[in-house]
């Protein structure tokens, strides 16, 4: 469903992502890990069409992001690392705006808003202006907005930042359920325990290159270690990093 074919992205002379090929099929929750500045957000933004690859091709649901961006975006949902909300709209109005944007019929929209409001515990504040929300409240509204149009591909960039442990667990379960229901979920995160708990496959990017790709077992075999993902992650990312004296 998501396919990156020999994708390279340069910012001037800096190579942010180098010759990246990756395919995430429907029904998979894929965790994308890597140190700060490794190229995670650049990759995510190329998948959702906010950045153009310098070389290579990105397709979502078979649609080329550069040529058929509207078709691709209709099946896509994106949660950025810094979610955008209109300060002077209530959460309810924002969700309705998303409903309008994706042309969701009124009755279905109401049902979906009710469903996600209950699940994320948003009912009590959904009629307040979003400017009064805490970061966690905003994040929950954005996550609900993401799921409103039943996307086939969900791209998440650090979706758990600012969420309390209850909400974080809830979000984990929600996206695992989405993947079970057939959606493709691409999650970029720094929270290794979440990747370990819910991801079917894990990709680790370092200095713009895909340093490792596979299931947790694959990574264990590759590193020759039997520990938690944290140990494997450090083993992979430290392999070529300069060691402190």
């Amino acid at each position: 469903m998501i396919r990156l074919d020999r994708v390279t992205k340069n910012y001037g002379r800096k190579v942010a992502v180098r010759d990246l090929s990756l395919e995430v099929p429907p029904g998979e929750l894929f965790a994308f890990l890597g140190p700060n500045g490794a190229g995670k957000t650049t990759t995510v933004k190329m998948i959702v069409g906010l950045l153009r690859p310098t070389e290579g091709r990105v397709t979502v649901g078979g649609h080329d992001l550069q040529k058929e961006y509207l078709a691709a975006k209709r099946i896509l949902a994106y949660v950025p690392d810094q979610p955008y909300l209109y300060d002077k709209l209530s959460g309810y109005e924002f969700l309705n705006f998303i409903g309008d944007m994706y042309d969701i019929p009124r009755s279905e929209r109401r049902r979906e808003i009710d469903r996600w409001s209950d699940l994320f515990g948003m009912r009590e504040y959904l009629n307040l202006l979003t400017e009064s929300y805490s970061h966690g409240m905003k994040q929950r509204v954005v996550l609900a907005a993401t799921l409103l149009h039943r996307p086939k591909v969900i791209v998440l960039d650090e979706p758990l930042v600012g969420l309390d442990p209850h909400s974080a667990r809830l979000v984990k379960e929600v996206f695992r359920d989405q993947a079970r229901a057939g959606a493709t979920v691409f999650m970029s995160t720094h929270v290794l325990s979440i990747a370990e708990d819910v991801a079917q496959r894990i990709g680790i990017i370092r200095d713009g290159r895909l340093a490792a790709l596979g299931t947790l077992e694959d990574l264990r075999r590759r590193t020759g270690r039997d520990g938690r993902l944290e140990d494997l992650y450090f083993s992979i990312t430290d392999a070529a990093s300069p060691q402190p004296n």
Binding site: N10, Y11, G12, G49, L51, L70, L89, E93
Partner: protein, 564 residues
Amino acid sequence: MRADLAVLGAVRWRDLRHRAAELVGRSRFKVAVIGVFSVAFWIGLYRVAAFAMRYLGHLSRQYYVDLLGAMFHVFFFALALMLVFSNAVISYSSLFRSKETEFLLAGPLRVESIYLYKLVESVAFSSWAFVFLATPLTAAYGVTQGLGFEFHLFALLFFLAFLLVPAAWGSMIAVAVTALVPRTRRGLMVAGAAGAVLGLAYLLARLVGIQGGTSMDLRMATEVLENTRFSENPLLPSAWLARGILSLRPGRMEDALFFLGLIAANAAFWTAAAYALAARWVRRGWYVSQDLPGRKRMAIHRLVDFAFGKVLFFASPSVRWIVIKDVKSFVRDPVQWSQFLIFFGLLGLYFASLRTFAYEERDMSWKNLIAQMNLLATSLTLATFSSRFIFPQLSLEGRRFWVIGMLPMPREKILYGKLALSFTTSLILSEALIGLSSFMLGTPPQLAVLHAVALFGVCLGLSGLSVGLGALYPNFAEDNPSKIVAGFGGTLNLVLSLSFVLAVIVIQAVPCFLRYGMLGHSSISAREFQYSVALVMAIILALSLAACLTPMALGLRAMRRMEL
């Protein structure tokens, strides 16, 4: 496309409705203050325009119609030029540097719909000043000519149709430059800004270079008409607007309707052209703007640190570092400094070319008049500068405000830092400009000193107003300075700044015109003039101190109470 626009229009409408309800519900006082000041300002402009028209009629009945025409043509030409520039700047910020655009581009919306939605926003932000300045002029014209209600109605229709033309041009320039000139965009912006400054300076120089005595004679009228001919070029939409409005009278309505139709057709054409361009180039421009290297290696700017360290010798080291941070942020943002360049570059070029008009060889009444106009122009530019750049400084700290708010120093020092920056920068710039003007004109020492002191007071008062009110009415949620300035605090600051400037100018002008009156004879002696100048300088300094300290005290109190 229609559905996209309906969705975007609906969300903006809801947003505006909530803002309006909040403004009315929370602060009737604010609405009343804005309303009263706006009406007072509008009436002031109307009276000046009506006086100018009657004065023109009184001076030269023979050339009245032609001179009025020249006045309309030049006025609309200058406003159109400013509209193109401001629309280009606003379009660039709102299309390529906005979080909202990123959010919308990630959704299933056509890029050309997003563009049109942003174009409407740009028209609204850039054009209210046009309507605010142009309606008093046309109203004065309608009243002095005894034209009926239909004139005012049609004049509004003319404005509404016309506004889309410079808006479409400005936004097309922003899109084309961003999409097509990636690597040298900064250089192009500088070249464009410099070109605009030079072009405007040239036009201004042609206007003020008119030779003539104090009486309106045939030679002067002919010169005025010749020097304003450029604005009557039949290919300019601003000329259609001027001719259309001047034709709005019984017996010439057909001409007026022709020009209205011409402007409306052009508005539709250029909007359609901009829409077509957007479909091809906005995404490309977005990609280019995102592709610029995010990590620029910056020079350490030891020179800036050193220079400001020396200039701000009177401030504490922590205040100096806050100032240097603000200076670096400003210097590294081309959108900010290109506007600054336009403001002051224009004045500098004009003052530097004063000798070409041989004003220094004229009698004192002319020198005084030109010196007064220069002081007014410099002061008004300073008021615009402080409202546009200084007022939003604290708000622009935004979500990073906690960084300086948590520094181990009294919060008041942050405001003192902003005050020091504003005062020092504006003082150096404006004193250099007015010194240049005095030198070029060869004004007597008393007049030069009076103007230098008046500008000292203006800088102090304007800095206090902008910094103090900026702390009293901060907007930490907004990243775009244009939007911060358009809020209540920004509007109040602009109105108070203009009122303060006008008060200082009028106070200092009284002894000057008594001494160097328009017709060459003095109403007061040289000794009386000296005493008057001393008294006026004391009054100006007292007024400026009050204009600085009052808002600063309010701002400091707000800062102390501010919760991070």
